[in-house]
Amino acid sequence: MGYPPKLAELVETLELLSRMERIDYLISVADRFQEVPDNIARRPYGEEHKVPACESEAYMWAEKQSDQTLKLYFAVENPQGISAKAMAVILDENLSGEPAEHLAMVSGDMVYDIFGRELSMGKSMGLMGMVSMVTGSAKKLHAMIAEATS
């Protein structure tokens, strides 16, 4: 599957849960969502940070850390964007601080591993868009690191 360790552990745990247990867990995760702090971004958010295909109007920022990893931040403008908020928390808690090369390899399939298969195409597209924003930033950072060390 190729997930970084924390994310792999989460996916293994979710596999053991019933549908309702998974939903309850994801809602509790969404409750932890915290919007991007003002020192990172303020409204109106730049279009370059907008997650493609996400109907919950999610935005993503990836801040490079001194240890050459990324810290992820999100905003979700739709107050009913519960899945987007849960996804934002999971991406931050499980991928922030991981090496960029590991983040770059995370597959969009993680959406199904986290939420299960009962997702509409539109919902899946938005959540996969969040993953692709993260992997895109990680790829850029990884390329910068590789160039600097070559």
């Binding site: 309702m20 939903i23 309850d24 994801l26 809602i27 969404a30 295909a53 109907e55 107050p79 009913q80 964007g81 519960i82 899945s83 849960a86 969009g108 399939d109 939420f115 009962e118 997702l119 509409s120 195409m121 539109g122 919902k123 899946s124 597209m125 996969m128």
Partner: protein, 287 residues
Amino acid sequence: MSAIESRGYSQPDVLVSSDWVAAHLDDPNVRLVESNEDPLVYPSGHIAGAVEVDWTRDLNDQLRRDYLDKDGFEALARRIGITSETTVVFYGDKNNWWACYAFWVFQLFGHDNAKVMDGGRLKWHREGRDFVRDQPSYAATTYKAPARDDSSIRAFRDQVLVHAEKQLPLVDVRSPEEYSGERLHMPDFPNEGALRGGHIPGAKSVPWARAINPEDGSFLSASELRAIYQDEQGLDPSDNVVAYCRIGERSSHTWFVLTYLLGFENVRNYDGSWTEWGNLVGAPIEK
């Protein structure tokens, strides 16, 4: 005259306001049904007393690509505790997109004692009304449904082929990018993807959400809707119209608008939609 009645709809009684719902929360003859795209939304908070009807698990046959049958509908009705006399009020996320889809499926079984809460979750939320997480349970009921009737509000592939050949009105309610064929689908979506992009020849492009006031998710007034569907697109209430999207969900919203709000007499929803048409060998396509 209520705000809904003042909008000039053909059948204003099919809509209820959030005030009406708030006043009927304890009415045993009313069942609130929430239908959403996002499976986390209902469990995270819903209107008190509302049950969830999920479009994938509750409305679809789990084996064939089709809707539930008579037995399945009766089982669903028993689960949510309704009889044929119960007024079922649908609401949900995405401007009632999925609520209208559930409403449409209920009409396949003739449950015409059905309404939609104008504005859905968005309006309820914007008005600062409460959502609760307690999931209600209702005593199982006995519901005798008729056999599903696909003849009047549902269109099938072969019928749509003839419809297109006759150059009868078709309404494509997808996004302009899908209509033009610019966007097909995301990778890894074999169930909802299509091999070809574009639209059914002659179809008019009217994205479904144009019928909605984006501020609060409520439906536009009849005159505003007429300006779109009749004045701009040239449709007439007497037309034989087929609406379609990708799998028939968004087009059920447009079916609702044309049928109940504008009084079109003969509108069918082609639920095979682009996932069928765009994969159909030899089917004519326009870009």
